[in-house]
Symmetry: C2
Subunit: 256 residues, 2 copies
């Protein structure tokens, strides 16, 4: 009988300011950890919302500069959306998945399937004509942040760049990992025995999404202003994944 | 600027024994909390795997007693599965969703969509002919456990009966809440303002699934033997949901 009580602690880092293009996220995160008397340790994970990564990377677009093409205009009419936003969505899209009034679900150029290619206007500063796109490459953003934190602290931390996605079958958004560095994204438990030694046939954890969803319990979605969450105690194996590992290949997906 | 550091702690309760039909889960959970010097408090949540709830409820079936019908035999040939298991899957199924070699995805009679109606042979005692079905009504199981814990401790805890589901688009299983009591299942944040006061249009959290996924980081899937996880610090609002709240109605689902 295992009498240990493994424990994971999830803490929202306080006082992360409103992020502007060029801001040094690593520095702001370290300031926030010091504010609560915490030092990052190897094995910790940090979950950072894609929104602040996008802001730091200056991924703003001014809708007044966007000229909707013919396809954007047609889709905008069908979905009753702003044709300029639809144009930007198409520029970020590999393939359109589903269209309905008010709904435009696409496979993003990064590989995942989400509404409006992750483009929205919530929590974006400036006028109503400013929108924020997802980071150009969240796996690169995650690796860069991890390197910066290691240089400044010596700690090897796992990084998840998180987004919030709806999904088929089930109500409500969950947290997903669109960028990962220094930790597993998908954890393959196939072949580990169950309690009676019978081999588990299929047991793959969407580990990055589990971590992002755990953090989502604290980040919320609205005005909480808690864009960075530290997760301590995970004890993940020394496997290094990428956010793209979590994308199911279309040819292995019965629901495209 | 919010200088609080909200924190959630997730702890796997140690020493939960192998569960047998008729076992008193509430008593075993309380013993496990006492083992680590913890007392349940109002506002805590407990995530309990559906597997041990099924075992306590004696939801075992002996495949030798199952007579596959014509449809089960046809589907078994198509999916290359045991026709007796397919027969049990069909008895638990509202509607077949997708069929492929090795794959049988159905809408369970409880409303969610999952592979094999949640029936499998892993971590089931007895012969290879014994399978375990999901609890008859996980929302009822959750409410009963909550009532028993309140009677014995005075604490009002939230309960999630969890399962582990694959999903379209993304690799790896995540935790889902198939039974909920004493806490929200879906958290509707629509209408809360964002940081700049612009109204958030759509922001619904699959709260029960977030909690189940957080717990899944500790329960694992194989021989960890950690079927009960305590979650402290959630600060969920006083809304009472049900596991079935998390099922998207087929008519509002673009991917059926």
């Amino acid at each position: 009988m295992d009498l240990q009580a493994p424990s994971v602690t999830i803490t929202a880092l306080p006082g992360i300011p409103f992020i502007r293009p060029g801001d040094d996220l690593a520095a702001l995160i370290l300031e926030a950890t010091h504010r609560i008397g915490v030092s990052l340790q190897t094995g910790d994970a940090l979950v950072v919302t894609s929104k602040i990564v996008s802001k730091a990377e200056g991924r703003y677009f001014d809708l007044k500069q966007v000229e909707p093409g013919a396809e954007a205009q047609r889709l905008a009419a069908e979905t009753r959306k702003d044709p300029r936003i639809v144009e930007l969505v198409l520029q970020e899209t590999r393939k359109i998945s589903r269209i309905a009034p008010g709904v435009l679900v696409v496979q993003h150029r990064l590989g995942f399937v989400s509404a409006n290619a992750g483009i929205d206007q919530s929590n974006v500063d400036g006028s109503d004509d400013t929108v924020l796109l997802l980071p150009a490459d969240p796996d690169v953003s995650a690796a860069r942040l991890r390197d910066q934190l290691r240089e400044r602290t010596g700690a090897d931390v796992g990084i998840v760049i998180s987004d919030s996605h709806g999904r088929p079958f089930r109500m409500g958004n969950i947290g997903v990992a669109i960028g990962v560095a220094g930790m597993p994204a998908v954890l393959d438990l196939r072949g580990r025995p169950d309690l009676f030694g019978r081999e588990l046939k299929i047991s793959i954890q969407g580990y990055g999404d589990l971590v992002a969803s755990a953090a989502n319990l604290l980040t919320g979605e609205a005005d909480e202003g808690r864009p960075v969450v530290m997760v301590r105690g995970l004890q993940f194996p020394p496997l290094v994944g990428r956010g793209t590992d979590l994308n199911r290949a279309p040819e292995h997906d019965l629901y495209r």
